[in-house]
Symmetry: C2
Subunit: 471 residues, 2 copies
């Protein structure tokens, strides 16, 4: 079915339906890709103040067959928020719907509008002595609606789950403009199909999330962080198992870091203080969050001693203060920025069954090396089986010369992931950048079911067309 | 669209498609409701050995427009597995697909076929020193496919979540007979719509789950259980908050018990040893599961002392041995059986926002009392906001005389739940018994979306017709 651009005629029609200040002159920044690859189009821009205005806008778009692009913080990495082809869409930014509607400490629940910035939600939880554990690099600007629409991951998934695991209820506008009030604070509700999880991770293609009830957790009484040099990638996994045998669920984060990442830091971000004089081949950042009566530092020492005794650990630094904890995290958190400054030829957000990580790293390295002398930075959320696997030119060379090889390199990585029953998009989503990959690697029965669901809920195909599935 | 019964002609056709031993003479036990309310119909019975046979059966049913009833352990309480109207279905029992396909302790993952009995899965996890935390009354006979199809709850939801939270991947046969291979062991996979969670909780109306990858957890190093007399239902919630402030995520179960339940035990199950001489108005069963280095008994004592100091607790028993722990659980676990022996007029599986439990209990009691002198047993998973709220005749009177009032009493309870933004089915599902209630209380936008999804995936309406949504 053909869609129409959000043109002057459509904008004029919208003006009769919503208050004047809801419609804005389209601004280029709403059509920008944060990695600066491709610019999108924007036909009309609306900044609604409430769910009823969102509903009115979507109904008008459905009637006029105008594409709708829901816009959160604009931080997505796969082009889900950038309409680079098709008719110019109506961009609906949720930024003015940013209220924290309620905080319920007894229930460990918080209700926020979709435009609430992630770190505002974290702060609102902290204010009542609770933790909202979703934590990721863009938390200062990403918005919870976008986190939900993309089922964002981050560094605490190991313990607290993905964004979908933190969501209890949703309010949303479906593609026909109807409002779904599913904003429940319930922990248990088995009344019909799980529309919530269908919208979470659908990247704006099945509706616009306008508010959410999310789970809070107790704040751990004590936290401790260590960076431990491990003897191999396999040893890292054994270290994780050992840590869990000691502290159970208390392992909050377990991040794998490769020598290449530390060398990149030295090269382009020399101010970031590194804990080891010589960058080790592999190290892990481990964080414990424990209840009262336990000393995280002591537990980490115990873990380290046992790990050394079992030849898993070779060296290590255990934080002795909040400042030292932050310093260790700073190392981990600056690796993506270092990657950006070096400039990757191809980057990948993959996952494999956790036990296959060492095999994946070894085999992928071999296959990439067969195609040239590249530098590889594999790092990330090893406890979730999720690695960011990025390929860079040899030192001193520009990535531009290698860009023609990017697609082939990605193919090599994704083929291997597929052979290992892994995922070609562990936490970033499909967006527009990976829609072709999903067609190639996705289960055909699932893809057919997805298309049937999309057509059933959005027969005209107005919601974020081109994202997840190509039109 | 009209459906056809699974008659002789259809059975003869099936015989040409699957090995002889897959088809059985229909047996009445596959059409029984465990609460003995209504008998179902069964036209043909198949016991497939693998997913390909399930696929063949469903394809044949789709072609002939014959209804299909997926059958697990048959323990569901809402008639989801009992076809009491419409043409007689083909019942597909998963009982011969009961293999544990793999256990991956490093990954904390187990892969089982849908027919695996829950306690066999628990045992397989235990054998590798892991915990599969799903635990409910029927665990000796319910099967994981049914647990998933109904998103079963149980006593450990507080800490580990509902069945859907324990599921990583699924293999299933969709209503068109196609096999979906989504049996991933991944912790993170953002490749398209969440078909897994759509099937989980859809009660066999969108497909047949044939296998699942589920999450395992570390076994807590130490467990401790206490039964604590609380000064009110509100005090119970404050006690839970206090417990969490002390042990964080370590609270594994938090069950509320009313005096009525204990009196029922005395009346019909006098052999069950009760911890208190006089049954208290409200008590809670609390269980801690803690990592190494902590003494659960000591933590419970600390909790109890603080609770007494804050006037939350009046009396209590802390288990000093495994046998005492079991004894306390025996009290809780026999309440449903005592209810059954007494015979309820109407029973309800409801949830409300946790902080509203005291208000719900008070207000519901008032409204029911306005209709007669009933006995009410409200008990259950208070930590999840989930109560089983059952209404009984006055002592010495038979429920039969009150049965005509059952629908009105249910209406009173469900209306109040609805006013409080609660759920009329917290953990048992909709099945056939609550399909009308879902129509009454469900969000209209959600119901319309559910119908659209059902029609998209099952255009002929063969999968468990009449369950969840009336035909």
């Amino acid at each position: 079915m053909r869609l129409n651009a959000a043109d002057e005629v459509f904008a004029t029609r919208l003006k009769t339906l919503v208050p004047e200040d809801v419609l804005r002159t389209p601004e280029a920044r709403y059509a920008q890709d944060p990695r600066g690859r491709r610019a999108g189009q924007i036909g009309a821009l609306a900044l609604p103040r409430d769910v009823h205005q969102v509903s009115t806008l979507v109904k008008a778009a459905a009637e006029a067959r105008v594409p709708v692009l829901p816009y959160g913080g604009g931080t997505g990495l796969v082009g889900g928020q950038v309409a680079w082809d098709g008719p110019a869409p109506l961009v609906i930014s949720l930024e003015r719907m940013s209220a924290i509607r309620g905080v319920y400490p007894t229930e460990n629940v918080l209700v926020a509008e979709a435009g609430a910035v992630l770190d505002d939600i974290q702060a609102a939880a902290e204010a009542v002595d609770r933790l909202f554990p979703l934590s990721l690099a863009s938390e200062g600007s990403c918005r919870i609606g976008g986190n939900l629409a993309t089922n964002a991951g981050g560094v605490n998934v190991l313990r607290y789950g993905n964004t979908r695991d933190l969501c209890l209820g949703l309010e949303a506008v479906l593609p026909n403009g109807e409002i779904w009030n599913g904003l429940t604070r319930l922990r248990k509700d088995n009344t019909g199909y799980d529309l919530r999880n269908l919208l979470v991770g659908s990247e704006g293609t099945l509706g616009i999330i306008t508010a959410a009830a999310v789970k809070l957790s107790p704040v751990p009484a004590g936290q401790g962080t260590a960076m431990i040099v491990v003897s191999s990638a396999a040893a890292a996994l054994e270290l994780l198992a050992l840590a869990r045998s000691i502290v159970g669920d208390g392992v909050s984060a377990f991040e794998l870091i490769h020598r290449q990442g530390l060398e990149f830091l030295t090269e382009v971000l020399p101010d970031v203080r590194q804990p080891f004089a010589e960058p080790p081949e592999w190290c892990v950042l481990i964080e414990l969050g424990l209840g009262a009566g336990l000393d995280p530092g002591q537990m980490l020492e115990q873990l380290f001693e046992q790990a050394v005794a079992q030849d898993l650990a070779l060296d290590g630094v255990i934080s002795q203060s909040q400042a030292q904890r932050q310093e260790l995290w700073t190392v981990r958190e600056h690796i993506p920025e270092a990657n950006r400054l070096i400039g990757s030829i191809a980057s990948h957000d993959i996952s494999v069954p956790i036990s296959l990580i060492p095999e994946f790293v070894a085999e992928a390295g071999k296959r990439i090396a067969a195609n040239g002398q590249f530098r590889i930075n594999a790092f990330g959320h090893a406890g979730d089986g999720n690695l960011h696997y990025n390929i860079f030119p040899p030192k001193g060379q520009s990535r531009d010369a290698f860009k023609p090889m990017a697609a082939d390199l990605t193919r090599i990585v994704h083929d291997l992931v597929h052979e290992m029953d892994g995922s070609i998009s562990a936490e970033h989503g499909i967006g527009r950048l990976k829609a072709k990959d999903l067609e190639r690697y996705g289960d055909p029965t699932k893809l057919a079911a997805m298309r049937a669901i999309k057509t059933a809920l959005d027969p005209a195909g107005i919601m974020n067309p081109g994202a997840v599935m190509r039109v």
